[in-house]
């Protein structure tokens, strides 16, 4: 199912995604880098194990749709799109600058491979419902993925979409929730208690799996199960991830929703990531 480079391991893909993201963060000196590091393993498995696409033709009709509703995670998705060769690597130097195809918040009109405009949180899952209905109408066997965040669980529109997907039995829809326990105002569970999360989706007729989102083996198994599940129901993979995963001194920062990182620290972070090369 993975598209290219079968010789490159998934952990190595994840490492490179982290490296691309850090290099983009370095351009701006700040950003949502902790989310990107946290979700890198999920993106590695998504783009190099679980998703059909053609790098040279990002709008290929047969592709699986990967919808990022968390606009500020754009830095993470750009890193994955670069690793997937949908975006050339040299463009990461333009991140967030004038004329760049890589704006700070992800928008469909700017970036190849960016399926929707995120940023106004709580839009992705509903758009995914519409696309999943449309794909069924077209008799396509493509999947629609929507990567959204635990913060988006606060939005009522997410639950309108969740109820609808269950009602329509959308077995071509796979939700991925990044539960990194960090929102703008602090730890997610302190902002709004969304637990027990799995049972909520189960009650809405979803096929639910909850995994360590930084465990690549567990993610591979979960994506395989989501794609091959026989039940006529939407699927959700709840991924518990660690903010800033892979860079211990950033993991340790208490409030890391939006990180300001000193120039020498970027170098140190990249050095730490590079030390894990070739895994």
């Amino acid at each position: 199912m993975a598209q290219m480079g079968h010789n490159i391991s998934l952990p190595e893909r994840a490492r490179r995604i982290r490296r691309h993201a850090l290099r983009m963060g370095e351009v701006q000196g700040q950003g949502y880098i902790a989310q990107a590091l946290g979700v890198a393993d999920v993106l590695a498995v998504s783009y190099f194990h679980a998703t059909n696409y053609r790098p040279e033709d990002p709008e290929w009709e047969g592709r699986d749709r990967f919808l990022l509703s968390i606009g500020h995670y754009a830095i993470a998705l750009y890193a994955a799109l670069i690793e997937a060769k949908i975006i050339p690597e040299d463009e990461l130097e333009t991140y967030g600058t004038d004329e760049s195809r890589l704006p700070m918040s992800g928008m469909a009109a700017y970036t190849p491979g960016m399926e929707i405009t995120g940023g106004s949180l709580g839009h992705g899952l509903g758009i995914a419902v519409g696309m999943a209905l449309a794909l069924k109408r077209k008799k396509s066997d493509a999947f629609v993925y929507n990567l959204f965040s635990d913060g988006e669980l606060d939005e009522g529109s997410t639950w309108e979409a969740a109820m609808s997907a269950g009602s329509y039995k959308l077995d071509n829809l796979i939700g991925i929730v990044d539960v990194n326990q960090m929102q703008a105002d602090g730890p997610s569970m302190g902002v709004l208690n969304f637990e027990p999360l799995g049972p909520k989706f189960e009650a809405f007729n979803w096929f639910v799996q909850r995994v360590d989102g930084n465990d690549i083996g567990a993610l591979v198994a979960a994506f395989d199960a989501a794609r091959h599940h026989k039940g006529q129901q939407p699927r959700i993979i709840i991924c518990d991830t660690k903010m800033a995963k892979g860079v211990p001194f950033l993991e340790a920062r208490e409030r890391n929703h939006f990180l300001r990182v000193e120039p020498d620290e970027w170098k140190e972070a990249i050095r730490i990531i590079d030390a894990g090369a070739g895994a």
Partner: protein, 345 residues
């Protein structure tokens, strides 16, 4: 002025005659008692259009029956999607459908599309220039249910949204022409819907709808009424009344509120030094009146006088529609009286 909720209706307490009972029921029609009407022109036209256009799908948020989309649903059950009473989802899922090449026609009430689902129309649909058609019943003051159902500021809200085309049709014949024109137009459109038994008004004037065009329905040298939606019907009726006094009123119908046909509006205002009256079924804030006023100012066009007929900047009362139209100045009688008074100034 709204009465205290602790004061019972006068006729119950002082033994005076019971007033004429008029209904505020949701299905109340804007048609006059003797007016020619056609049923559900939107639903029938869309159903016909979908026979030869497989892009078209219908979607509603539990209001298909009340937006005439039930006619489409009956004709094309396989092309209809019930999204539940969830207007945010309605707009998001329509965006997803449009991304996959379909042309969703989504219906709800104008209050819910504008107030509740604004962000979803704005970011998921308009910012992406997606081909979604939003058709909403109960625009302006077309129900007596009170502020929860009266979309008195929908145009003000939607005029601020880039990329969105706004259509406010007058009658059944215009809806029948507007629907195929909207389908042929690529991009998001908001249409204010007149539903149920919709009056047929414009046929006798030989009017033809063109998206983006304002058209003179009737010539007149004394006053120019610029109007949209059902207020064009009222303007034409008022013009007939004024004619009895020897006053000649022109009526310029502006069904496309955005993009506004400023060229035609300015040309008409320049043509003669007339009183210009803008009449709209909408609050006087942020609608056609202010759009026309600003266009005149920007182009240094000074009519003899400029006046607005529209709803006040207020939450309106509940009651029977004919009573409310009279109370808030939208009835033919009130429109006629207002113009007479302005001509006498």
């Amino acid at each position: 002025m709204r009465r205290s909720k602790y004061i019972r209706p006068d006729f119950l307490t002082n033994g005076t005659d019971r007033p004429r009972m008029t209904t505020s029921a949701m299905i109340a029609s804007i048609a006059g008692p003797d007016q020619q009407t056609r049923p559900a022109p939107f639903g029938h036209t869309l159903a016909k259009l979908a026979e030869k256009d497989d892009r078209i799908v219908g979607m509603s948020a539990d209001l298909a029956k009340y937006t005439d989309l039930h006619v489409f649903r009956a004709a094309h059950p396989d092309k209809f999607y019930q999204m539940g009473m969830a207007e945010q989802l309605l707009m998001m899922s329509a965006a997803g459908m449009a991304r996959e090449g379909f042309q969703p026609w989504v219906t709800t009430y104008a209050v819910f599309a504008s107030r509740r689902a604004y962000d979803f129309i704005c970011l998921a649909i308009a910012e992406e220039m997606l081909d979604v058609k939003i058709v909403c019943a109960l625009p302006g003051l077309t129900t007596g249910y009170g502020p929860s159902h009266q979309a008195t500021e929908d145009i003000a809200m939607f005029r601020g949204m880039p990329n969105l085309t706004i259509i406010d049709p007058c009658d059944a014949s215009e809806i029948e022409q507007a629907v195929p024109a909207i389908a042929a137009h690529k991009g998001p459109v908001y249409m204010r819907l007149l539903r149920g038994n919709v009056p047929v008004v414009l046929e006798e004037y030989g009017y033809k709808f063109e998206l983006g065009k304002a058209k003179i329905i009737r010539e007149g040298k004394d006053v120019l009424i610029i109007s949209s939606g059902l207020m064009t019907m009222r303007a034409l009726e008022a013009a007939k009344e004024l004619q009895k006094d020897g006053v000649e009123a022109a009526v310029l119908h502006v069904p496309t509120i955005k993009p506004l046909d400023e060229a035609t509006i300015l040309a008409e205002c320049r043509k003669q030094n007339r009183l210009v009256v803008v009449a709209e079924n909408h609050t006087v804030i942020g609608g056609l009146g202010e759009a026309v006023g600003a266009a005149l100012m920007r182009s240094d066009v000074r009519p003899a006088a400029f006046r607005q007929i529209g709803l006040p900047d207020a939450f309106l009362e509940a009651g029977a529609l004919p009573t409310l139209h009279d109370q808030y100045g939208l009835s033919t009688q009130k429109v006629t009286a207002a113009i007479r008074s302005w001509l006498d100034e």
